[in-house]
């Protein structure tokens, strides 16, 4: 079997090469997701429990104070963000997994910039989390949210942005972690309070001032609020209930426009991404 040797020559690093690297890191993320059904299912259980069990239970309790609104409709955007956030964090955690199993080294010794690896990872996490969010999106009808194309597109875009930022945060956490246990420990520690303070589970109106301050410094608040605004913009709701359930986020008494909130999430995402890249450059 004397075959001709296929000799290849690898080109110098350039933009096109970095783009290929981003694409392949992203592609691997998707392959891993598609191959892992268990993960897909397990990531859905918690938001669905919250939405249909907690949502229904709490809903009967607060029915009197929010006439004409299903409490689950209120929780719905929160649970979309919860799904997206958990999936995105899990994707980021695979960096720790890759480090434990050596695959990270294969990536780090390649002649590509650290930035393209981190960007590929964050995009991968964002795409996977958005795909997971689509499943919750499909349940809109069950909680009284209409399937309007405009709403779906808006939510998808907002989900993607939130997922990207959260993956960047997760990658930053994962940059120095040596094992999965400590990553998940830290992740729980970070995610739980952020979820609680984001308005995903209860409205941010009329809170005691200390709690109000905490919710406004929580970056997740600015990811959840635009989704809620979008959902509430597409349902009929009495003004009084809207004011109570969808108060928006205000700084010093002024309500923030949605554009600013989204911009804030994007800026935070970009900063986290930048810091994550620096961390990976340094950990070599």
């Amino acid at each position: 079997m004397a075959t001709e040797v296929v000799s290849v020559s690898v080109p110098r690093t350039n933009g096109a090469h970095d783009l290929r690297a981003i694409k392949v890191v992203l592609h691997r993320e998707l392959l891993r997701f598609v191959n892992d059904r268990t993960r897909m299912v397990s990531m859905l259980i918690q938001p669905i429990l919250w939405l249909f069990v907690m949502g229904t239970g709490l809903g009967t309790l607060v029915r009197g104070s929010i006439p004409g609104v299903d409490y689950r409709t209120f929780m719905y955007p929160g649970m979309i963000s919860m799904t997206v956030i958990m999936t995105a964090m899990f994707s980021a955690g695979s960096i720790v997994w890759d480090r434990e199993f050596g695959f990270l080294r294969e990536m780090l010794v390649a002649p590509v910039s650290r930035a393209s690896i981190v960007i590929g990872k964050c995009l991968g996490g964002a795409v996977v989390a958005t795909a997971q969010g689509v499943i919750i999106l499909a349940m809109a009808g069950l909680v009284g949210v209409p399937y309007s194309p405009g709403l779906i597109v808006t939510l998808l875009a907002e989900m993607f942005l939130a997922a990207f930022t959260i993956t960047a945060f997760g990658v930053l956490l994962a940059a120095r972690m040596k094992n999965m246990q400590s990553f998940f420990g830290v992740m729980q520690m970070a995610i739980m309070p952020m979820m609680f303070l984001s308005g995903a589970m209860f409205p941010l109106a009329n809170l005691p001032s200390w709690l109000h301050v905490l919710t406004t410094v929580n970056p997740l608040t600015y990811a959840v609020d635009p989704m809620r605004q979008a959902v509430f913009g597409h349902i009929d709701i009495p003004a009084q209930a809207n004011a109570m359930l969808n108060p928006g986020v205000s700084w010093f008494g002024n309500q923030l426009p949605i554009g600013l909130e989204i911009g804030l999430v994007a800026v935070i995402g970009a900063v986290l991404l930048g810091v994550a890249v620096i961390q990976f450059r340094r950990s070599e």
């Binding site: 000799s7 290849v8 690898v10 110098r12 690297a21 392949v24 691997r28 891993r32 050596g102 080294r105």
Partner: protein, 323 residues
């Protein structure tokens, strides 16, 4: 022709610990170069610096003509790496792992499939290309890693303990690939090992101990440089025999593996004198030619296994003195 690997005064210190204390070496293109030493001698640290995985504390190193600190990506494009620990994604198939690598290294798209087939056929994994790597045995994984390391036609292939923990068949298969590679590809191979029998396959070996290179030469030249045979005898009274060997023949001996052991220039001619003049009954005798084990011992004062366990014994010191 420019050296494939050129290292001058390469150093690495961690705090106060000097892991590598100024290594100098040059590897010619096409050479199979072995880095031989016990665990903790600085082999992996050195190879990691050459592969741009860690930055040297001092000195310079060029691989394939590029500086490992200032031209890191140029070095990376031109080297293939096979580590001691697997670096494959078990959830992907063999082919997916290779494609991932091809993309990361920017292998021209139209060449990927042909090249992939070639490297997979070389390591006899072509028919398993669509199996998930997690279903592979340790030996298959290592073979796949070698295939992947070659995928982008590197000029230098670094193998860090490529055969450690593998069964004898896989070990010899891997040596088969390495031997084949030197004929089919224009490649230099730089490997570390602590198996003496494998070091024999190298064109040249560097013995490294305590972060320093003790000697660099071909295995044959190294064995010839010792010039002594190893003699082992069983006697009625070992203590007395050792004393008499020193007194009557001026030979340092020690008990090793339950036998009185020592080194002399030409064993066959020494044995008759031994029987005539030792004065202690000899029950058995064996003479052996120097092996790389003896070379290692002679240059470092310990066997590679004992160097790893951290204590030398008398025989080694005797052998070292007898150099």
């Amino acid at each position: 022709m420019e050296a494939a690997v050129a290292v001058h005064g390469l150093k690495k210190t961690y705090g106060k610990v000097e892991a590598v204390k100024g290594v100098d070496l040059e590897v010619a293109p096409g050479e199979v170069f072995g880095f031989l030493g016990p665990n903790g001698a600085g082999k992996t640290t050195t190879i990691s610096m050459l592969c741009t995985l860690i930055n040297p504390t001092g000195g310079t190193a060029e691989v394939a003509g590029h500086d490992v600190v200032r031209q890191r990506d140029d070095v990376r494009r031109n080297i293939g790496l096979v580590f001691q620990d697997p670096t494959l994604d078990g959830y992907l198939t063999a082919a997916q792992n290779l494609r991932f690598h091809a993309e990361l290294y920017g292998v021209p798209r139209d060449a990927v499939e042909d090249r992939m087939r070639q490297v997979l056929e070389m390591v006899a994994l072509w028919d398993r290309k669509d199996s998930k790597v997690m279903t592979f045995s340790g030996g298959m994984k290592r073979r796949l890693e070698i295939a992947r390391g070659l995928l982008h036609s590197p000029r230098v292939l670094f193998l860090d303990e490529p055969t450690v923990g593998l069964d004898p068949q896989t070990r010899s298969a891997i040596w088969g690939y390495i031997n084949k590679l030197r004929h089919t590809e224009d490649i230099t191979i730089f490997m570390t090992t602590h198996y003496m029998d494998e070091a024999e396959y190298c064109d040249r070996i560097a013995i490294i101990d305590h972060g320093e290179i003790v000697v660099i030469d071909s295995p044959e030249a190294l064995k010839a440089s010792i010039g002594k045979d190893r003699v082992q005898i069983q006697t009625a009274d070992d203590e007395k025999a050792i004393g008499l060997l020193k007194e009557r023949f001026g030979v340092d001996a020690a008990v090793r593996e339950g036998q009185v052991t020592f080194a002399v220039a030409s064993g066959e001619q020494f044995v008759p004198r031994l029987f005539a003049d030792l004065g202690v009954a000899i029950r058995s005798v064996s003479v052996s030619r120097p092996s790389l084990d003896d070379v290692f011992m002679s240059y470092t004062g310990s066997t590679i296994r004992d160097a790893e366990s951290g204590d030398g014994n008398q025989w080694m010191r005797a052998m070292a003195r007898g150099r």
